[in-house]
Symmetry: C2
Subunit: 157 residues, 2 copies
């Protein structure tokens, strides 16, 4: 029963990651320069941003070291078009796949107890006051974050 609950949550994450994969995979560097709306983020920036945010999930969920901290400056701490893209499109797409594969592989092994442990950005004290600040909450938040940007990316079709 618990296992099915967890599997359903993981499936929801896989669906949105696959949807983003399908959208990004066929696009080359030039096509990824398209903005989602006038003067808004480029697809390339959103690919970098989603990769950086998911990369940070590895330490946040306590499942590993970061794989691509080199993306933060261009895609997390600064707005689009202020820092040169640090990676070519093929390497950025590879980083995106690597990071998601690392997350999916780790969370598929989580028990319901693992999901309800605290994430690493909350203190023991704060967690004891609010046990909803668990790994599941972070994970659902990031799934919603990916959906949020997927909605923007869909506007370029």
């Amino acid at each position: 029963m618990d296992e099915l609950f967890v599997t359903t949550v993981v499936t929801s994450w896989k669906l949105i990651v696959n949807r983003l994969n399908e959208r990004f995979a066929p696009l080359d560097y030039e096509q990824l320069q398209k903005q989602v709306a006038p003067n808004k983020n480029r697809l390339f920036y959103l690919l970098g941003h989603l990769t950086a945010v998911h990369d940070r999930m590895l330490p946040l969920l306590g499942i590993g070291e970061r794989l691509h901290p080199e993306l933060d400056e261009a895609y997390l701490t600064n707005p689009d078009q202020t820092i040169s893209d640090p990676l070519p499109a093929s390497d950025l797409k590879k980083a995106w796949s690597e990071v998601n594969a690392a997350i999916t592989s780790a969370i598929e092994k989580f028990s319901i107890d693992d999901w309800l442990k605290k994430h690493t950005a909350v203190s023991d004290e704060d967690f004891s006051k609010d046990p909803k600040r668990n790994r599941l909450a972070v994970f659902l938040n990031r799934t919603n974050h990916a959906s949020y940007h997927m909605g923007q990316i869909a506007l370029t079709r």
Copy 2:
């Protein structure tokens, strides 16, 4: 333990609904005519669309009859600007609040067993083959759907 898992999922839903509420609440009919990008959906259409989709969650999750089926033609089965808006802005916002209140109130009473029951759009036979086609799957899908459109709505800021 199970209860905490369920509470965390419901909290994720409430966060996105509140975020949409905050965005829609201060806007009048004229302001809601803004499109999220050139030739894309108006904010008014998205408010109607999200209300219709959430209204359909009531029978889908087996928690009640629909409250606002009159929205489907304008916001679900037809694209934006093909059917006249059936309700003024104040009534549409009221419908949005009513529908979300009905869902939240019902799901807050769900046990983990309730979440893992089949939703009403899947047959008994298909559900026995794939028990992931449960109410939780529908609910996470709709939470992601709301996030998807929130990402588009955020572009109008």
